[in-house]
């Protein structure tokens, strides 16, 4: 048991030490897929100097769908007010990845959606489980991240997007 606690303590220390780093990090370059099967390199995610939300989700993840369906209702306003773009990364594997496009269109999502069927981008972004949301500032730096979703979280997310759009720092 003592070993476990030591391990936990060390892990927490590393986390807090490194958390301060969120700021200078760019989106890693990983080859994933567009929904039509085309190759897509994640380093080309950009939004003309406006903020970007990257949201990892899956068709089998209820809170993920709750989050993205909630944001979908407000997305047009968010875009008008801040110029933000949401990039949704589905981590569905071969079992479900061919159902992603029908689901996205069926829900009338306007997001940019990409497929990460073997979790390569998920690993590069250090995502443990979905939903996991990142905020990218106008210079392409990862400035904030959040795990899990519960109703109301979208308000906090949008407040941060507004700050970024206004050129304020959120750290």
């Amino acid at each position: 048991m003592r070993q476990v606690f030591t391990l936990l303590a060390i892990a927490l220390m590393i986390a807090t030490t490194l958390q301060a780093q969120d700021g200078g990090r760019k989106i890693p370059a990983v080859e994933i897929k567009a929904m039509n099967g085309a190759s897509f390199n994640t380093s080309s995610i950009q939004n003309d100097g406006n903020p970007i939300i990257i949201s990892f989700w899956a068709t089998w993840c209820s809170p993920c769908k709750r989050e993205l369906n909630t944001i979908a209702e407000e997305y047009v306003d968010w875009q008008d007010e801040t110029g933000v773009k949401l990039v949704a990364i589905s981590i569905d594997d071969a079992r479900n990845m061919h159902k992603v496009k029908p689901y996205v269109d069926g829900q009338s999502w306007e997001y940019d959606v990409y497929l990460d069927p073997n979790a390569d981008f998920k690993r590069a972004m250090n995502v443990n489980n979905v939903p996991h949301t990142f905020l990218i500032d106008g210079d392409g730096n990862i400035v904030w991240q959040h795990n899990s979703y519960q109703p109301g979280d979208e308000h906090e997310l949008y407040e941060l997007v507004e700050k970024l759009a206004a050129g304020e720092s959120i750290n």
Binding site: Q3, T17, R25, T59, P102, S108, V127, N128, P151
Partner: protein, 571 residues
Amino acid sequence: MKQLKLLTSLFLFFLVAPQALFAQDEGGGVFDGLQIHGNFDVYGQQYNKDSIIGAPIVPEKSGINAFTNLIATKGKFTAGVRIESYIPPVQGFDVRYGNQPIGVPFRYARFAQDGLEVTAGNFYEQFGNGLILRAYEERALGIDNAFDGVRVKYSPYKGVYLKALVGNQRYYWQKSDGIVRAFDSEFQLNELITKLESSPLRVSLGGSIVSKFQAGGNSSLKLPENVTGGAGRFQLNWKDFGLMGEYAYKANDPTKSNHYIYKEGQGIFMSATYSRKGFGVNISAKSIDNMEFRSDREAGLNDLFINYLPALSRQHTYNLAATLYPYATQPNGEVGIQGDLIYKIKRGSKMGGKYGTTIQVNVSLINALNRDYYTNADMDTANALLDQQVYLEADPGRKGYKTNLLNLGDSVYYRDFNIEIDRKFTKHFKLKATYAFQEYNIALIQNKVSPNVVANIAVLEGLHTIGKKHSIRWEAQTLFTDQDQGDWIFGLVEYGYSPHWIVTILNQYNYGNKVEDLRVNYPTAQVTYIQNALRMSIGYGRQRAGIFCVGGVCRNVPAANGLTVAITSSF
């Protein structure tokens, strides 16, 4: 002890290095632009005695699985390590993870420049849908068949993507005896051919070759040491339509699981979609025969798979529908078809209501692949004869049986018909109703002596939001069946206080069990705290024995009673 020392120094390095390195604001040091990031994931359980629910007695009284990933990047270079520990493994995970309490089973270095990427050490990979090759990590299932070797990815022209790899696979704290060598090519015609750049028709083609080597061993049979497989695939998209197909083939590969037959394996997977705003449909079909492909012919369970055969059924999320009778792919042979539809009734319409209504329907049908045995016997007799490892007179080539991918069998493996209706009634209230009919071949999938389980499942889920921060979510579920453990009822209430707190209370009750003593309640309470990427939860209660699956690959979760703690974070 040596390992522990190494680990401690590693930890200290990563702890001190960033501060030391980032303190250098100016000057062009070697560490300029070096970034270190990672995550950790700790899951622990404490076990009480609870014989009525069949909880195994755990002498250590606790189990813990912990993972820490650290990735360092600098320009074109990336290096990473994963430290894992199992002290001892959480119940339900393979005990072989406990052979070493802590270690570094995953480490790699990578260089990438101008379409070339070279990785030395550990890596994951997937060709196409994975029918012939997929190395992946599914931590929740305890699956990690990563390669340890070298991989090169190269894109010589626009639209041409090549991959080549060689390596051994991870086998808990060891490596496979078998060596895997593989090559994959993919051609994106719209990128490759300038004329097609803006064409509404998008075409991509791909092909792979995978070969494994394993020494022959001491068997009385003459076993092939090199086994080669391959796959070809296409994907077409035209306007709102999409069509995808992959065919995989494996040369004869006698293994313990196929009773050492010298028969080739085959598999096909096809999927067609049509979707536009508010409507989407997907129809897919799959047929596989003798397609279990592992880097060790003696391996069982989920060990050392080179390929991945996705299950053709819906991945349910509600507890009773997801964990009692979930389908698991039968790699030695199955035929399946699935239809999936989503339709959103417009908001503001009479049917759709003020906020719109979403309907989803899914139908999955999976049967056996029919086989004609050479021995004129039934399957069990034929397999028993083959297990004696002799060459039978009626089957001198030890082919085992004859079949083809269209040879649909009568035996029902799985049926699922389900419908889900989701409607937002007011700004603050949503309701979702689900019905599912399932038929499940429990004899085949769970090795239980029982006719197929026929279950009817109904779920109602409500979500109320109060102000901007508070929410209440509840679930009421029932499952009715005359087989196995009989009827179940499940209830859950969850209070959320955004963005930090979630409190969940749930109970499930096996009120319909034929054995009166087993009509047991499984109450659980859990509190979760979230702070950005950090998520911590602590729970107490009873955990029902069940099956946890991802992608048609499953793990048995044993019954448990006690405390659970989970902490994850990314940085």
